[in-house]
Each structure stands twice: as structure tokens, then as C-alpha cells.
Subunit: 329 residues, 2 copies
């Protein structure tokens, strides 16, 4: 048995293309003392991966050329030289775009509590991003209006459902009528606006008759700039993603900054790693809501490691619908 891996072959300029990746095969790695050998079952695809393909300064160092693409995976322990794990354990790891890998850093997950793939979505990093960003930065109060962009996506869908659970009006922004219908009918948001249609500013005015108290921004760019004009006094903006800029060669230029001063808006950039010591709190809360059937989710599944590059490109173009996953086995 051999390992199969997707490596970063070249850095994209503008849109990612399949030519930026290369696939190779290597002998199966052997676990050292303290490590487990894991067979990956599910790979998560996420917008942040675009940043790691670049060598511009970001949260952490980018992927080096010729290295395995980074990514979170759920897999099964094949052999263990770590007393905390045994063969057959299901674990969450950071093994990246490959079929097998060895690591000392694994977190056991409970298949009875939720399907394995959920630990990459609603119960995983995207769910926790939504939880901490909305709770700690957004600080929504009962009766307030929360707007979230990329509302049908892995983070956005949880943001809006948490907003509803916490007693707020939830308004999503998504691309296309099909996604908007899903966001309102299945996820239970109060409204969802199609940014591809018509006048977003006017649509926001109608969907948010009392203005916007919290904006959870997953996209940046023109949508962020438009939202600035709709924020209430002392509103909060969670700056979580900039997907509209990730593939742009020139950043979008923000023109409505004056609103921040006039309405004394608070804005804060976030990455979920900053809440590492509180992951337990999020897992418990999200697990509770999930168990009660209050957190619905949708997955967009691509089969086979070799199709992961295509999956990431589609994700960056907004073609996915729900949490984007690659089924590896």
C-alpha cells in the first residue's frame, strides 16, 4: 500500500488553477514513538487555503512549494505508537491533502454524537468560528438584527442558526436563488438576500427595517462596504473572511469608512485559533444544539483525493453549496 498526496506545485497569481497542484505517490509512512498512522477519510476544503498557497504574510507561514497542501481531515487510526490511541479510533487531524499520514496531534471524535464529516463542519472549525466570532465579537443581544454573508456556507449557516437560537433576527446574504431558498426554508433565517441580484443596499433596507446590529463578514469587498452604510449606532462587525479578495490581484477599496466614526462601530478581525483554550466550551454548546436538532447543515461532497484541486477552485468561486468536503475513502 502506498500513500497518495497533493502538493503545491506553483503559487497562483489571481485565480487558482489545477496547474498549481501536483500529485505524487510515496511509500506508506511509519509512525515514530508517540505517533499514530492515520488513514484519512474526509478532507475539509476551506477558503483560508487560498492564503496558504501564497507567500504573502498571513496568520501563519504559507505552504512551501513541493509540500503537501494543508488541511483538516477526519480519519481512522491504522496503527498506534501512542498509548492514548488505539487502532480503529476516529480522529481529527491536520494531515492535509493526502490519504495517509503520521502525527502526534490528533483529537478523538465521537461518531455516535455526530457523523464523522460534521467534525469538519458544523461541529468543527467552521462551527467554532461561528460560535466564538458571533458570541465574543458580535455580542448579539436578544431582538437585534444579525447579518451574515456566505450564509449557506459552513461558517455562515451556523452564524445565522446561532443568531436565531439566541433570539435575534437573522438575515443572510448568498449567491443565487437556490442558496437563498435553502437559507430561509431549511436553516430558518428570517431573510436571505441574493447579492447577484438587484440592489443590495435597498434589499438590506427592506430586510433589516431596524438596521443592522451585527455583521458577520465572510467575504469583504463591496458587500462589506455596502453593509457599513446600514449599521446601527454601536454596531459590531466580525471580520472573519475576505473571500472576495483572495483571488483578486488588487484589493477592493473601501469607501464608506466614515460610517465607523459616525455610528461608533466596532470591528475586529478573527481567526478561531485565538480561542484554542476555549474549544471545549464551543464543542459542548454546538453539540447540545446539534443533539436538539437545532443546527442543520448541508455538505457538498467531491469523491477522491485527485479531485480536491477542482473542489477548492469551485469553493473559491462560490460554486459549492454547504460545507465543501472531499471523500477520500
Amino acid at each position: 500500500m502506498r500513500n497518495r498526496r497533493v502538493l503545491l506545485a506553483s503559487r497562483p497569481s489571481g485565480w487558482v488553477s489545477e496547474a498549481n497542484f501536483r500529485i505524487d505517490e510515496t511509500p506508506l509512512p511509519q509512525p515514530a514513538q508517540g505517533e499514530v498512522l492515520v488513514k484519512n477519510l474526509w478532507l475539509s476544503l476551506d477558503p483560508y487555503m487560498r492564503g496558504r498557497m501564497s507567500d504573502a504574510k498571513s496568520y501563519v507561514k504559507g505552504v512551501e512549494l513541493g509540500e503537501v497542501m494543508v488541511g483538516q481531515t477526519v480519519g481512522e487510526v491504522v496503527s498506534s505508537r501512542n498509548e492514548k490511541f488505539k487502532e480503529g479510533d476516529k480522529v481529527l487531524t491536520q494531515l492535509g491533502w493526502q490519504l495517509f499520514g503520521t502525527t502526534t496531534e490528533a483529537t478523538r471524535v465521537d461518531e455516535k454524537r455526530a457523523p464523522l464529516s460534521c467534525y469538519l463542519g458544523v461541529m468543527g472549525m467552521p462551527g467554532m468560528t461561528a460560535y466564538f466570532g458571533l458570541k465574543d465579537i458580535g455580542q448579539p443581544k436578544r431582538g437585534e438584527t444579525v447579518v451574515v454573508s456566505a450564509a449557506s456556507g459552513a461558517v455562515g449557516s451556523v452564524v445565522g442558526q446561532l443568531a436565531k437560537i439566541w433570539g435575534c433576527r437573522a438575515v443572510g446574504i448568498a449567491g443565487g436563488g437556490q442558496k437563498c431558498a435553502y437559507v430561509t426554508r431549511e436553516l430558518g433565517f428570517d431573510a436571505c438576500l441574493d447579492y447577484k441580484a438587484a440592489n443590495l443596499k435597498e434589499a438590506l433596507r427592506q430586510a433589516c427595517p431596524s438596521g443592522v446590529d451585527v455583521y458577520f463578514d465572510n467575504v469583504g469587498g463591496q458587500i462589506f462596504d455596502t453593509l457599513l452604510t446600514q449599521m446601527n449606532l454601536h454596531a459590531r462587525v466580525v471580520v472573519c473572511g475576505l473571500i472576495s479578495d483572495y483571488n483578486a490581484t488588487e484589493p477592493y477599496a473601501i469607501r464608506n469608512w466614515r460610517a465607523v466614526l459616525v455610528n461608533r462601530i466596532r470591528l475586529q478581525g478573527m481567526i478561531v485559533f485565538d480561542w484554542k483554550e476555549r474549544y471545549g466550551e464551543a464543542t459542548k454548546a454546538l453539540g447540545g444544539y446539534f443533539g436538539e436538532g437545532k443546527l442543520k447543515y448541508r455538505e457538498s461532497v467531491i469523491e477522491g483525493l485527485d479531485n480536491a484541486p477542482r473542489g477548492l477552485i469551485a469553493l473559491l468561486k462560490g460554486e459549492n453549496f454547504g460545507k465543501q468536503l472531499v471523500k477520500l475513502a
Copy 2:
């Protein structure tokens, strides 16, 4: 004796001109029950006044055409129908650009503690803006680097001096060598950069070898955009003023927003009125530092009410040096 007033005659588009104002005379107003009649001695000129001349949405409603221009004043009670005040009391009021006025809203000030004009500057609204913005939003820790723009101005000069008192490195940004020399030599900042000279980004790198932890922004625009690229992880930005945009017909377009996400920066718009219930705390702290000689200040005084329009125009162009005042009597 008659009253003399400066009224808003027309709304400026772009730069303010003297033609936007009109001067008139009226009979001396008589205090109603509960009011005092005040003879204004000092009028404060502040950048926010540009906003009040416009009818665009801002903190509060703009001045109506034909109304007296708004502004804070220090004056002397001439006659009182309010038992809390007696003739000769010195008071801080919001009577605006006129020689006399009646009001129920006056705050007694203590001439022995500080010269009267200081209650419009270092001990007044600008000083409190610096105090609450830096303390509550900037939250500087000992050893951190605080950068402030318009550093020789009424707010900026207090921000940097408080940063030094609280154990930080204070770096100012000001226009021209003369102001910069004042900021370092007289106010005791560690460095001051001339935004009119050379490459601000490179100058910031040299003056802030450990990066920027707090940026107190009084100007917005390109300086704000440049600062974004120099902020440390978890840095804070106090969004206090946008003087660079006040007279622009098109707002400046911000291009470095991505830094907010990468470094998880927190930014917050402020206006000192939001701290109304804590003014006492600021007055006490600033009064203490002032008494110890730790808060130096400089005033730019224009003589005579009729020259107030010219003074405001100069202020908006950055031609003042220190707190801009009009001496009325």
C-alpha cells in the same frame, strides 16, 4: 449692549469658505427662569464642526441654515435665574459662535486649577477624548507602541503624553518639521514623523521597531491606510477623526483592509459623548496629571468673534498649531 452671532449661511461643498457664514446682531437675550445669561470669553474651534455644517447623517443633526454655529465656550455668568449659579461664575457651555447666550446647561469651572481656556482643551472635551479613547479602546499595555496622528493638536498631544505617563513608546505624526520638533522636545514623545516628508511607511518602520500596538487615528485617509500595514497582532485602532476626508468630495478608498483579518486588529469609532457618565473620572485624572506638570499644551489664539470662520478654515487645513481658540473678550 447687543449680541453678535456667526450664523451658517450656506453648506460648503468641499472646502469651507468664509462665504458659508454670516454675521448678525440681535438684542441681548434675557434669561428665563432656571437659565443663566453668559458672556462668552473663549470659543473652541474643532474639526467636528465641519460635519455640523453638512446635512449628511452624523453623530447629531447638522446646524440649520440661519442658525448660530455650534461650539463649546467658556464664559462668565452675567445674570442668573438659576440658584446653582451666581454672577461672576465661570462656566463651560455649548452656546456656540456668539458673544452672549442663555442656557440651563452650564458646568462651573475652576480658574485656580487651570486657566479658563484649558477647559476647552487639555482639561476639556479634547483631553477627555484622548483619555477615554486611549484607555478604553486603545488599552495600551506598558512597553507597547502607541502612534497618534495630528499629534500636535488638542487631542493628539494629550494622547501621546498619556501614553508616556502609562509607560508606552509614543510616536506622533504631524505636518511639518516645526510641529514635529514641538511634539518631541516639548511634549516628550519618543519620535514624531512628518507626513508631508518622504515615505511614511518607511519612517514608521524605523520609529516603531517593534511594530504598532495602538493607533489613535485623528485623520483617516492615506495615513490610516498606511498604518494598517504596520499594526501588530491583536493591535487596536481608535477611530476618532477623519479630518482628511472632511473637506473631500470623494472619500478616500482604503486598500489595506486585509491586515485587519491577518493580524486580528480591533477598530472602534468613538465620540466622547458616549462616556458622559464618566466625565468625572477623566477630569480627575487629567487634573491630577495637569497639576503635576505632566500635561503640556499649546494654544493657537485668534482674536475676535468675526475671525472665527477664518480660524476654522485654517484648522481644517492643518494651519493651527495646538488647540485652536477664539478669544471673544
